[in-house]
Symmetry: C2
Subunit: 165 residues, 2 copies
């Protein structure tokens, strides 16, 4: 799956797969971990079905603000196994006009989850790009730091769900 | 569904829905009607599942040739009801680099089929574009003539399948 034009983040999360899936797919949870702090998500829409909207607004230091964000769309949902979404298409699969900054190139994210021993979850996020230039742009934008930081935040959020359960 | 940025072709086909679906979804049939004659399809790949490849090579008069074509991808398959595919993404949902000519803008096609009276099929094909400029480009390229002509060819091909059945 992962090829020359891709970026990959793999991590074993110290949280059970049911809670990791819940933290990833419920908008009220996703909103709390999806931006690497001190950045934060102030608006988020996720309609968990192929063709459903995935849109978020990220704000941060020095007036950073993605605005309402270009709505992307969900492509594939396999319960507690896989979630695929893209910024290349909007709701109901309409092609998107690309935006600015981190929305300047189209990307598809393929996120997979697998049960690991000891109540842990093998988590893999692959970002697919159309070419090496877009991959490089994304990498220089801080892909590894950013996606790594939010993986830790995802793990922490999932753990708080366990306490509540 | 169809909005300002879309182009729509609607037609009641004189062929039963089972055969229309078969003519649309089996590569060996699709190849025979998908290009408006005298254009023809010389290569075609269709893997009928979300993320599966949809690629065709069209050749025609005066040396017209799309080459091997940019592979698009299937988004949604609902048996004898709906087929959605896009040129914005390639196999396994990777964002596509846009090509030239009729591949210069991304497009999503939403094709729906409904049983009509007298063994006929209500057929609707909607082309979704990212903006009005792409819609206009597609329209001037001859959308209505082209998609209308192939709808007739689809109807004829489906009828030959009935004779064989």
């Amino acid at each position: 799956m992962a090829g020359d034009h891709d970026l990959v983040l793999e991590r074993t999360l110290n949280a059970p797969i049911d809670l990791v899936w819940e933290a990833y797919t419920k908008p009220e949870h996703l909103k709390r971990w999806f931006a690497p702090r001190p950045y934060e998500i102030t608006e988020l829409e996720l309609d968990l079905r192929p063709g459903g909207i995935f849109r978020f607004r990220m704000v941060g230091p020095d007036g950073f603000d993605t605005g309402h964000g270009t709505p992307g769309c969900v492509l594939e949902v396999i319960d507690r196994k896989k979630l695929t979404w893209t910024s290349a298409l909007g709701p109901e699969f309409r092609p998107n006009e690309m935006g600015e900054g981190c929305e300047s190139f189209p990307m598809t994210a393929v996120v997979t989850f697998e049960d690991a021993s000891g109540g842990r979850t093998a988590y893999k996020a692959v970002a697919l790009h159309k070419d090496a230039a877009d991959r490089d742009t994304h990498e220089k934008m801080g892909f590894h730091d950013g996606w790594g930081t939010v993986a830790t935040q995802l793990e922490e959020l999932a753990a708080t769900l366990a306490v509540k359960a």
